[in-house]
């Protein structure tokens, strides 16, 4: 079956160059980087090289890079590592649209007696920075705000936010899992203290992540163990994956222009094709400040899981904010926070592209999506009601 993979915000294909770079480190160069012998030493040099590649990609110093097991660990480490360093402070600020890797930590913190402020977003998914300013108190231990939203692709003004937060002397963390590789990140003159990235969102494998920690940032290790990662994260280095992530970061840096031009053009082409051909379709999220690869649209009066399964039947892999896909009963917390009306929230579909997508694939989607939506609208009781109400007016 033809496969059109447009679910790259969920995970990406591992780049062939990355696989190639990793292969020797399984059964040939399997030494432990901490070992004293040459066999471990040569592996350590490769790990250092990977650290430099990641640092170069982020505009950081290699000493500021901590390898973790995934984006979720990076987020957890940043939050718990900071709160642990400021035990006297009991207030935490974040947003209502974070990934569960931050969002569910908030629920936990609230249960543990922390005061948690979740900043709201408007209909386009944008923050109100005055709300942030008003939320900061002397008791605020940490502000954690995502760089770009996984569902809508909306990009937050991270440096502007950072200036507000740093003016108060408060540590600032950002979950940049979706931003990395899609828009330029440069920690050099940044206000960000900590930043999370995840390997499998940028063509490295699943099971590897990074937490950037700016020099001088107070941080207690989240995983306590050996001296690895300068004592900031115990556990023997996941050598092949670290080397894979290094390579992926090198590629991501090279491909950034392509993401911002060709991928963006493909996304815009798909967006236009869908909006023109399918009536009662809404675009979700700030059209201007949006990741170049992400398109989130809602088809009124139909339900997302049904759309996904009909797409899947044609080999098209996308994702939905519909309740039914997740097993929960309420639609995506992001769309609800944005106030997307119920007529549309259940019928939202996210297409997320990568450099591996082609125009021919976009044409395939544009050709097959309209009859799918029409078929489901013909089954839906609300579509006919809607058409009737239109006639009356």
């Amino acid at each position: 079956m033809k496969i059109v993979y447009v679910d790259n915000n969920a995970t990406t294909k591992v780049a062939p160059e990355v696989v190639e770079a990793m292969m020797p480190y399984f059964s040939e160069l399997y030494g432990n980087p901490s070992s004293m012998h040459f066999f471990g030493g040569q592996v350590q040099r490769k790990v250092n090289e990977a650290r430099e590649q990641v640092a170069d990609f982020l505009g950081a110093d290699p000493s500021e890079i901590v390898f973790t097991s995934c984006g979720t660990e990076s987020d957890n480490a940043a939050i718990f590592g900071t709160l642990d360093s400021y035990p006297e402070k009991r207030h935490f600020i974040t947003t209502r649209v974070e990934h569960p890797a931050v969002g569910n930590v908030c629920t936990y913190l609230a249960r543990k007696g922390y005061r948690v402020t979740e900043l709201s977003v408007d209909r386009e998914g944008r923050l109100d920075l005055d709300e942030l300013r008003e939320s900061i108190t002397k008791d605020t231990a940490l502000v954690s705000i995502m760089y770009a939203n996984n569902e809508t692709g909306v990009i937050f003004p991270i440096e502007e936010i950072g200036q507000i937060v740093k003016a108060e002397g408060i540590p600032f963390h950002t979950d940049a899992v979706q931003a990395a590789g899609k828009i330029p990140l440069n920690m050099k003159n940044s206000t960000v203290d900590m930043l999370s990235i995840s390997g499998h969102k940028l063509h490295a494998p699943k099971g590897i992540g990074v937490l950037y920690i700016r020099k001088g940032t107070r941080f207690s290790p989240f995983i306590i163990g050996g001296h690895q990662e300068k004592g900031r994260r115990g556990g023997t280095e996941n050598v092949p994956y670290i080397i894979g992530l290094g390579k992926a970061c090198e590629l991501a840096k090279k491909n950034l222009d392509e993401e911002r031009t060709r991928v963006r053009a493909l996304r815009d082409y798909l967006e236009k094709g869908i909006l023109e051909r399918i009536p009662n379709t809404l675009l979700n999220g700030d059209r201007e400040n949006r990741l170049p690869n992400t398109l989130n649209v809602s088809f009124e009066y139909v339900e997302g899981e049904s759309i996904l399964l009909l797409l899947s039947d044609l080999g098209i892999c996308a994702s939905s904010g519909s309740a039914c896909t997740s097993g929960s009963l309420e639609p995506s917390h992001v769309l609800r926070a944005m106030g997307v009306p119920f007529t549309a929230a259940h019928g939202s579909i996210r297409f997320s592209l990568s450099i591996y997508n082609t125009k021919e694939e976009m044409d395939y989607i544009i050709e097959h999506l309209p009859p799918i939506i029409q078929k489901l609208r013909d089954i839906s009781p609300f579509w006919k009601d809607y058409l009737k109400s239109q006639k009356k007016e």
Partner: protein, 280 residues
Amino acid sequence: MWEYSDKVKDHFLNPRNVGEIEDPDGVGEVGSLACGDALRLTFKLDENKRIKDVKFKTFGCASAIASSSALTEIIKGMTLEEAEKVTNRDIANYLGGLPEEKMHCSVMGREALELAIANYRGQKVGKENFEVVCKCFGVTDREIAKAVRENDLKTVEQVTYYTKAGGGCAKCHPKIEAIIEKVRKEMEKEAPPAKPEKKKLTNIQKIKLIEETLGREIVPALKADGGDLDLIDIEGNKVFVALRGKCSFCPSSGVTLKQYVEAKLKEFVSDDIVVEEVRP
């Protein structure tokens, strides 16, 4: 991805009897756009008062569409007295089963049928006579009780899977628990269990056995993962525990409790054990 049976896939991809009957004998509508699924069922009777024609329109996921399609196939040709007896289980079975989380789709089918029959008879099955327990999804005590009875449900989670009740803000969970308890008591009276599977324990024996099982089967495994568990209290068949160490903030602690701790206690102590977490 959901594991749907071939029959579900078939009825989703090729739904039978889609549409609306003009001038129907009975109409039943349930659900709403806000709830995420809705069904409008219309039927027409023949001269022998059998269902001659039945059509549906559904807004919802694959299993909602398949359940509606299956329902129409099941009841075609039935008298209303026969159709009345169709349960949500019949719909699910016709489809070769549904994922438990999706059972509410079959319940939606049964409810629409009930409303359509009442509509034909000129009866009112208004929600006004019953208490709306779950405000998020507008589910009444009657609907919850019926689902518990027909599907032998034991937990709030199951009630949510079958009726959606409790799937939103969770404020109604205590009320749902009370309904489950009440209905299950009634069910026990009606049909006392044939034979107790494990020999009846005195309270003291039970408490001792729970402690032993926790110490031997459960705590060592949790400790291996950096977690721990304290037994807080035992009330009847309810065992209250507090998760400690890494378990206390582990996002899968709910799964640990139900699939591991509860399963072990059921295995070694009694089949009716329910484990509940006590949060500090």
